[in-house]
């Protein structure tokens, strides 16, 4: 059975993770050393294909350490939080091998919370968002894999069912608080930090709901967050490489100088807040249906959080790109940046129009590998 499962790996999920890992190295200048990149790709592939939970978590912990190595030159807080996430992931591996399912579930959830920046564990991710959005994009690639491991190995254990509603409430509360906080941001990176932490809360709520067997919502939310916010992070990095840090001091007027960059920001931002036709719309819908079964109040909180973050996104877009034209000698997005943006957008649209491309095989894989599902 083990060999069979290894061959029947979640290839679609792996492909998305690898794409998200490679995309920033093509598009922007935050490139890790080749051995770090190769190491992360290897850990991603291995963690998603091995059939033993403890081994998979141990490999994921190693991957987090490699991300920390890359993050160190940009943000020490971010790097150390990734080291902490790695240690927690390793502890989850230890708990799994010791047969302590509940401990593994909680440790895994904490590791994901640290890596997606769910308040109050958002210090590291916030620092990465502010100092190196592209590095945050890259580390989201293996966070998606970690979510998959969570769904595959620890989320279905019977004793976690009592904890699932708490995870939903925690996620929903974090979601709405982060969304409210984002409304008060005064610069573009603050907005990116806020929307990242808000989506982290959303993912946490989805993980709680997944404990009832609704894997698809959590997986699609993770993938959408990775693609949409990953794309947004790259666009923000590209913009700031051209014009420096963007403050919200009146209208920025950058649309005239960077029309393509403006369009990409709008679509990635829209995908993050459920733009119809993109994966964000289906992810939100699926998540809300899943959450409703556990807690209608949390569902309402997530919907309001999503509405507020949409407003914050439009404010960010307006303050950065709209207004009287600000001339710039820097060029618009280069061809390599456009190619990556189009690829990510194509994936977001594909998953929005035909979400079953990812979800049906992943769901079938999880149900085939999880005895209780």
């Amino acid at each position: 059975m083990t060999t069979g499962l290894a061959l029947a790996a979640p290839w679609e999920t792996l492909a998305v993770c690898l794409l998200l890992l490679v995309a920033p190295t093509v598009a922007v200048l935050h490139r890790p050393a080749w051995w770090v990149l190769a190491g992360i790709a290897a850990t991603l592939t291995a963690s998603l294909t091995v059939a033993d939970g403890a081994t998979a978590y141990a490999i994921a912990a190693a991957g987090a350490l490699l991300h920390a190595v890359h993050a160190w030159q940009w943000s020490r807080t971010g790097a150390l939080s990734l080291v902490a996430a790695s240690a927690i992931t390793a502890a989850a591996a230890g708990a799994l091998s010791a047969g302590a399912g509940l401990a593994a579930f909680l440790l895994s959830a904490i590791a994901i919370a640290v890596r997606t920046g769910v308040p109050p564990l958002h210090g590291g991710v916030s620092s990465l968002c502010e100092r190196a959005p592209a590095v945050q994009t890259q580390q989201m690639s293996s966070t998606i894999a970690l979510v998959f491991l969570h769904l595959r190995f620890v989320d279905h254990i019977p004793e976690v069912a009592g904890w699932a509603p708490w995870l939903v409430r925690y996620g929903a509360l974090a979601c709405i608080l982060a969304a409210i906080m984002t409304l008060a941001q005064r610069d573009l990176r603050g907005f990116y930090r806020g929307t990242t932490t808000m989506h982290g809360g959303m993912l946490m709520a989805a993980l709680g709901a997944a404990a009832l067997g609704n894997f698809a919502a959590a997986l699609l939310v993770a993938v959408t967050v990775g693609l949409a916010l990953g794309g947004l992070g790259m666009v923000i990095t590209s913009l700031e490489e051209r014009v420096g840090p963007v403050q919200y001091r009146g209208p920025g007027g950058r649309a005239a100088a960077f029309p393509v960059l403006t369009a990409c920001f709008a679509v990635f931002g829209g995908a993050g807040v459920g733009l119809p036709g993109t994966a964000g719309f289906v992810a939100d819908d699926l998540l809300l249906h899943t959450l409703w079964l556990q807690s209608p109040a949390s569902t309402v909180a997530v919907i309001l959080g999503s509405a507020l973050i949409a407003v914050a996104t439009l404010i960010g877009y307006s303050r950065t790109f709209l207004g009287p034209a600000t001339p710039s000698v820097a060029p618009d997005l280069a061809l390599r940046e456009r190619a990556v943006a189009v690829l990510l957008l194509a994936l977001l649209v594909t998953l929005g129009v035909a979400p079953y491309v990812l979800l049906v095989p992943a769901d079938a894989f999880l149900r085939a590998t999880i005895p209780a599902a």
Partner: protein, 431 residues
């Protein structure tokens, strides 16, 4: 698969496909395609949509082949276990009428705008948004399930917000755009919650499932109806959400005509027609709807009388009629409401498009002062107070700002606390 499915797909998707084609060309390198090319592509998409809708009407009425009505299945958008998002189109007299109506008006507006916006800096953006809007309206008109309807509803909202901020070199359009979008999103929460609740309570989010709303306990059907009403109030600018509509006049005249005269402003009342089975079993929600509609009509009629700018006065005149349509629906006069909706949309479209000529016309034919009304004669002080209130649009924007002030204060306090805590824990300063 019936022959009607490709026709429906063309009617709904061709404008979006045209918008995507223009958008992709820009993103992939050609930042400045010619106006002629942009107009041709978008016009082709819109024309195909009109032709598709004509074909649909032909089949629906039985003029072309055997008559087809009811739900047309396109397979499942997503199916995972018990959870299904159906790709289903609903053909009935309301849906096909509104679909053809909106696609025709959008195509006409596109033709009008080709000349009106010639050499305008945002020309490409305008036409791309028009394509997005057209697909949104087709989805709203033809959707057979709430998820599909919501997708169209959101596309209309996003296009509307971006049209309001079209002339973004000035501050006011940007502020108005954010305000309109915030109103949309917060009231859309009602539709989203209602969609999820409908699925869980009735086992499906298809409009046909709403026929079973009468089997729900009264509290649940009332909750559903009120949530739908909340969403309609936001989209159709009913009290207390009316403040965004006059601000929306910052957009280009053709989009104002299409959105706030003809199609978008009526989307909320169209939703009420669509979910009529839920409203029918909820007298409380219908009562609230009548009260809101009539209050909006009185408010808007009063404000329209004192407005000095043409589009602002038209916006409030529109609002007054939309309030009446909402009241008609909630009173159960749905056929009258549909006729009122279509007639009103056509009238306003013409008036909005003519608005830029109004000053010229006024100079040509002159205008007369309406004189004092009966209130001014009977109770002059009351009339003065009403006049002052109307001049300030009932201070609706101030009211909404006051309601959201604590949220913004909380946002600032949370942000300050967060920055302080992260600052204390940060290792960056010690490098």
């Amino acid at each position: 698969m019936t022959a009607l499915q490709p026709v429906l797909a063309v009617a709904v998707l061709s404008p979006m496909a045209a918008a995507l084609a223009v958008g992709l060309r820009v993103v992939l390198g050609d930042d400045r395609p010619s106006e002629r090319w942009v107009t041709s592509v978008i016009a082709a998409g819109l024309t195909l949509s009109v032709l598709g809708d004509l074909g649909v009407i032909g089949v629906f009425t039985g003029l072309v082949g055997p008559r087809i009505a009811g739900e047309i299945e396109f397979g499942d958008w997503l199916r995972l276990g018990d959870f299904v998002i159906p790709g289903v189109i609903q053909l009935d007299r309301v849906s096909v009428t509104l679909a053809l109506f909106s696609s025709t008006l959008t195509a006409l507006i596109a033709r009008f705008s080709r000349t009106y916006l010639h050499k305008e800096p945002g020309y490409i953006r305008f036409f791309v948004l028009l394509g997005v809007f057209a697909t949104g309206t087709q989805l709203v008109a033809l959707a057979g399930a709430l998820e599909l309807f919501f997708a169209g509803w959101e596309l209309i909202g996003i296009a509307s917000a971006l049209f309001i901020g079209f002339f973004h070199e000035r501050d006011e359009p940007i502020r108005s755009s954010v305000r309109a979008f915030a109103t949309y999103r917060l009231s859309d929460a009602g539709l989203l919650i209602a969609t999820v609740a409908t699925f869980e309570l009735l086992g499906s989010a298809r409009f046909s499932a709403l026929e079973h709303a009468g089997e729900l306990p009264p509290a649940e059907s009332t909750m559903l109806a009120l949530l739908f009403l909340l969403s309609a109030m936001g989209k159709s600018a009913q009290l207390p959400f009316s403040g965004w509509l006059p601000r929306a006049m910052e957009g280009p005249t053709p989009s104002s005509a299409l959105f706030y005269g003809a199609v978008s402003i009526h989307a909320g009342v169209f939703l009420m027609l669509r979910v009529w089975p839920v409203l029918a079993v909820s007298p409380i929600a219908r009562g609230v709807g009548v009260a809101v509609g009539l209050a909006t009509a009185i408010y808007a009629a009063t404000v329209a009388r004192v407005h000095t700018d043409a589009k602002g006065a038209l916006a409030h005149a529109t609002l007054a009629q939309v309030g009446l349509i909402l009241a008609e629906i909630c009173l159960g006069w749905t056929t009258l409401a549909l006729a009122h909706l279509l007639g009103h949309a056509l009238l306003r479209l013409g008036q909005y498009l003519k608005a830029p000529n109004m000053i010229h016309d006024t100079h040509r034919v002159g205008h007369s002062h309406p004189g004092h009304g009966w209130i001014a004669r009977v109770a002059p002080r009351l009339a003065a107070r009403i006049y002052a209130t109307a001049l300030h649009r009932g201070r609706l924007d101030d009211l909404i700002d006051a309601i959201f002030a604590p949220v913004l204060a909380m946002a600032r306090a949370l942000d300050r606390a967060d920055r302080w805590i992260r600052g204390q824990a940060s290792l960056e300063g010690r490098r």
